[in-house]
């Protein structure tokens, strides 16, 4: 038998919030993945909307490149509002 492909499951818990990754499951196609995701990941009102995507279509960054990828942000603290010291009267800005 050919193996059922793996799908990643994303659920929106309520309108106004993002879909969030909750896990994965095997299914023969996307429709079945949605039906199974409903049974597996939303038995207790966890969601109002489900996205499924076959895992093989996800491209992930390499954890080995973590430093090169993310370190440049470390020394740019001027991107945060707290970097700027203002007089007390206007500090709520």
């Amino acid at each position: 038998m050919k193996n059922w492909p793996l799908f990643e499951i994303f659920i929106r818990s309520r309108n106004g919030l993002d879909h969030k990754h909750v896990g994965s499951l095997h299914a023969s196609d996307a429709q079945m993945a949605i039906e199974n995701a409903r049974d597996v990941y939303s038995r207790r009102l966890e969601g109002v909307s489900i996205w499924v995507v076959e895992s093989k279509y996800i491209t992930a960054s390499d954890p080995g490149d973590k430093d090169a990828m993310f370190e440049p942000a470390v020394d740019k603290i001027y991107r945060h509002p707290t970097f700027y010291k203002l007089p007390k009267e206007v500090d709520h800005m």
Partner: protein, 312 residues
């Protein structure tokens, strides 16, 4: 290219900093193997654990109990799936895991090799077996491997009702007539010791504990968790008014814990080796279910392929 020793050192430092390990991070082969073994055993236990209870769905005493039992068993299927998915992130595929269960190569919790003889056993399984599982699983929510920890958090959230519904079954029996109370006591007599065995061999004989603690796969030892379970469960038995079958069980003021008798390790080993009352039946049932579902899996795949060819 970093050498093995350097990688290992960085890995341990990461764990010591309480940073989670994620699927694509470097990890020692032994860490990967230990996790695959532990997570898949855990998944198999959820799946085999459905069998003793499935046996009672048609015989539940009323519709409320039946709906609850069905929901609990459905949860267990889901928990098996969360765990298989977590194991798969370590680079092993689902079919291999299932094969290892069906061939008898992989283990599952020995508790499910005991038979569920009466309705009271549905109560005892929920209260004691799920209760012991929760003690284990709460500790595992902080395990060092990210996908395993996340699966555990989800499972713990869902599992609490399992224990409460079991206790409620026994509460109803214990408040009933003499025969019902006797049935509750009998189920406690049969499930108490096997439940204590669920925490595995004593620390001094546990092959995997030291390594697993170092890598924070396990956060507490078998004996620590077992003690926790005993301390938590004794007062609950008192509320039911039934007696835990252990003459050595008594509060130790000095330790601040209950002392309890020695587990029959001979029985433990006997069941682990495959010679418990239901080992053969459980695996036969799983094999039969898997084989009889084959055409459904094949048909679903054939349908999906036919449809995708039409679209293309």
């Amino acid at each position: 290219m970093k050498d093995q020793e350097q990688l290992l050192k960085e890995f341990q430092e990461k764990i010591d900093r309480e940073e989670k390990i994620e699927p694509k991070d470097w990890m020692p082969e032994e860490y990967r193997k230990t996790l695959i073994r532990q997570i898949s055993q855990h998944a198999h236990s959820e799946v085999v654990g459905m069998l003793p209870e499935g046996n009672w769905i048609t015989r539940a005493p009323n519709l409320r109990r039946k709906a609850i039992l069905l929901a609990k068993i459905q949860d267990e299927a889901g928990h098996g799936l969360y765990l298989y998915s977590a194991a798969e992130t370590l680079g092993i595929d689902r079919d291999t895991l299932i094969d290892e269960l069906l061939s008898g190569k992989a283990k599952y919790s020995s508790i499910f090799n005991y038979p569920a003889l009466t309705w009271a056993d549905m109560g005892a399984i929920g209260w004691l077996v799920d209760g012991a599982a929760i003690v284990n699983q709460v500790a595992l929510c902080r395990t060092s491997y990210g996908p395993y920890a996340r699966a555990m958090v989800r499972i713990c959230k869902e599992e609490s009702f399992h224990q409460r519904q079991g206790y409620e079954i026994l509460l109803a029996l214990c408040r009933g007539n003499a025969a019902q109370k006797k049935m509750a006591q009998d189920s406690l007599n049969r499930w108490w010791w096997p439940s204590l065995m669920m925490f595995g061999p004593s620390d001094k004989n546990s092959a995997h504990t030291a390594h697993s603690m170092n890598w924070k796969i396990k956060r507490f030892t078998n004996d620590e968790l077992r003690q926790k379970f005993v301390d938590m469960t004794v007062p609950q038995a008192n509320v039911l008014g039934i007696k835990i079958p252990d003459d050595k069980l008594q509060w130790n003021e000095q330790r601040g814990h209950y002392d309890f008798g020695e587990i029959n390790w001979e029985e433990f080993n006997h069941v682990v080796k495959g010679n418990g009352p239901c080992n053969r039946q459980r695996l036969d049932d799983r094999r039969k279910a898997h084989e009889e579902g084959q055409w459904v899996r094949d048909a679903a795949m054939a349908y999906a392929e036919k449809r995708s060819n039409k679209i293309a």
